[in-house]
């Protein structure tokens, strides 16, 4: 990367026209396969969906008159006699971030054409994702059954708390569930050797892109909904 240090004296204008020139060359605009380009564009679009959800939530949260429930109390669990705030969410977040790690390893082994390790790691990723959804189901059940939180109201405060909680985590949970199914299908096809002929394991990376995106979105939901 010695070139980059030499490029310090390039002005912004030169840099911008360089980008335009680069894009306007006789080539694909991005040096990636079609499927990967499409996944990136889809994720950009999906980013706007989640942003709209979160911005709408922030707007309501900032202007609501009724009191907002204290999230660290609502999402607290009593484990072994200790009352620990946000413990379940912390575990869920840990699980999901871990699954991103296994996914990254799967992509690496995919490109090395190490099929068994790829399948194993993808299965682990899907399993971690499924356990995330399972814990979410537990969280929902606890809120609905034990604490009486409903989408249209709750005993703790503003009705919108439940509305946004179920809508945003539900929409994200659907993304995770879809991802688990998607990863399982791709893992199965890798196991069956569908990509051996072409030797092209980009599909693993494309599935990985989606998975990392879903994890990244969770980080924002975690920060804005649970920690705020």
């Amino acid at each position: 990367m010695s070139e980059s240090s030499a490029g310090n004296d390039i002005t912004l204008e030169q840099g911008l026209s360089g980008i335009v020139e680069d894009w306007a060359q006789e080539k694909q605009t991005f040096h990636v396969p079609w499927g990967k380009a499409m996944m990136w564009i889809f994720l950009l679009s999906d980013t706007f969906i989640f942003s709209c959800f979160l911005v709408a939530y922030m707007k309501v949260r900032a202007s609501i008159v009724a009191g907002w429930p204290n999230t660290s109390e609502v999402f607290a669990l009593t484990l072994f006699g200790h009352h620990i705030p946000l413990i379940l969410i912390a575990i869920m977040t840990f699980v999901l971030i871990t699954s991103s790690g296994t996914m990254a390893l799967a992509v690496n082994y995919g490109y090395r054409r190490d099929r068994s390790k790829t399948v194993l790691l993808m299965a682990a990723t899907a399993l971690l994702g499924a356990s995330f959804v399972g814990m979410q189901a537990f969280e929902w059940t606890k809120l609905i059954v034990d604490e009486g939180v409903r989408p249209w109201g709750n005993p703790m405060g503003a009705a919108q708390f439940g509305s946004f909680f179920f809508m945003i985590t539900g929409f994200h949970g659907l993304h995770v569930s879809a991802g688990v199914i998607y990863l399982s299908i791709v893992a199965f096809k890798v196991w069956r050797g569908d990509y051996e002929q072409s030797g092209n394991y980009e599909i693993v990376e494309i599935a990985g892109l989606y998975w990392h995106f879903v994890d990244l979105v969770w980080v924002f939901i975690f920060a804005f909904f649970y920690l705020w």
């Binding site: 006789e26 499409m38 709408a56 309501v60 009705a159």
Partner: protein
Amino acid sequence: MAYVPIADRGQEMSHPHSWVTKYVWSQDHKVIAIQYSITAIAVGVVAMVLSGLMRLQLGFPDTFSFIDPNQYYQFVTMHGMIMVIYLLTALFLGGFGNYLIPLMCGARDMVFPYMNMLSYWVYLLSVLILMASFFVPGGPTGAGWTLYPPQAIAQGTPGIGAGILLMLISLGVFIVAFTMGGLNYVTTVLQARTHGMTLMRMPLSVWGIFTATVLGLLAFPALLVSAIMMTLDNLIGTSFFMPAMVSMGELNEHEGGSPVLFQHLFWFFGHPEVYIVALPAFGIVSDLISTHARKNIFGYRMMVWAIVGIGALSFIVWAHHMYVSGMNPYFGFFFATTTLIIAVPTAIKVYNWVLTLWRGNLQLNVPMLFAIGFIFTFTHGGLTGLFLGNVVVDLPLSDTYFVVGHFHMVMGVSPVLVLFGAIYHWFPKITGKMFSETLGKWHFWLTLLGTYSIYLPMHYLGFLGVPRRYFAFDGTDFIPASAEAANVSITVAALIVAATQILFFINVIYSLFYGKKADPNPWGATTLEWQTPQNPPEHGNWGDELPRVYRWAYDYSVPGAKQDFIPQNVPPEAVEKAE
């Protein structure tokens, strides 16, 4: 690593053989384009009939017993939503986007043909869901096409049961369909162009459609989110948008919702949507004008940057639709400023169209007439837009017919004129037959003059203060009798324009069967779609070898060349010199 054009990597094309795989479950972008177009036009005819019914009521109140106030609002709502989303968006992007992108970029098809096919069938599903709302108890929703809460789902609005639900579901399904198609269009333009087709050699049609698709992919999410939230408010009683209020003498069961939140989400989609419709029209009209003026487009690079710039700006102007909702004056100042800034790239485009016409060898055939008509109607609608972009002018005019006139001029008539021009222009390529010039010219002149006699008086009505959205004007003494006369004349003109469209259908259907065989390149156009080995192009578009592009799309009347156009795929050494 040497560059290997991806379109050249030998992927076997399997050509369909049975009638069903060729014309029904087709993965060919050209067939999908025609399916999209036919569906969009069919549903557009429904919306046109609805507008005729509205005009009957406004022109001749107390005459037609079959139009009651509830139905009137249902007609307004369905007319608006169908025209904006299910006709214009679908026809420009699903129809022309599908047809033109692979042909103009020199690709064999969209990058993922199967997903492209799904896109159409999901779109058809959304149309069917929307049409079903005409037949459910209570009828379709009458909330106004913007579906503003609280009235969209409050007691007293027509169609608050199944009607609004079907509308919201249909919108959601449409967005899924659009996303599948849109990802294809964007990826195809970025990644699947042929040799030599650099981004700055692409015809402006492709630039317009491409930028509009990007806008769609980023703007429809806001509509999806607002549709989901309103569905939840309606179905299970959440309070995202619904405040506590008394309607029809009853306290509703909502509390603390924010109706203005919906307006922000809706217009964050709604304003880019204007450009989702307008940018393809800009692009296509540039190509029509350049081709039929036998002259290169003036300022090609500026035209491209104007399209991209308008697209980017369209995301930061949305609240100019909400001046009357009330906002911090600084916000009004911000949104008025950004709105007026959009006039700069738009004006560049208009100047460039006019300068392309300047001293051109104008061929006043049907597509060209529509293109020139567009310049008039668009300039007209754009100028009234400058009035409405200012907060202080907008406040008194916002709820009057001035807005209806402005909006229909700029987003109704203008794109529709381009659509007609484009259909006439590419008809010989799509069908291999020529249409009737005479019928086409009648269609043009009646449509252009007719629409002017519809929408010009509306500006006058607006200045008089005639409120829009009203079913009847009883008890509004400030409205002079001349307004009623204007309303009658508008209605008569509207019915004539509606009837005129029959000429278009006769022309298309008659020419399809009995039209004389078209030349493969009847207009002498340079772009790739006119250089296909077969006319109309077959599955795979290019026969055995992909075309190679040597020049931009606008080599018309090049000095020293024998012909007055040089197709994009003619190498420099093959250009015939003039004697």
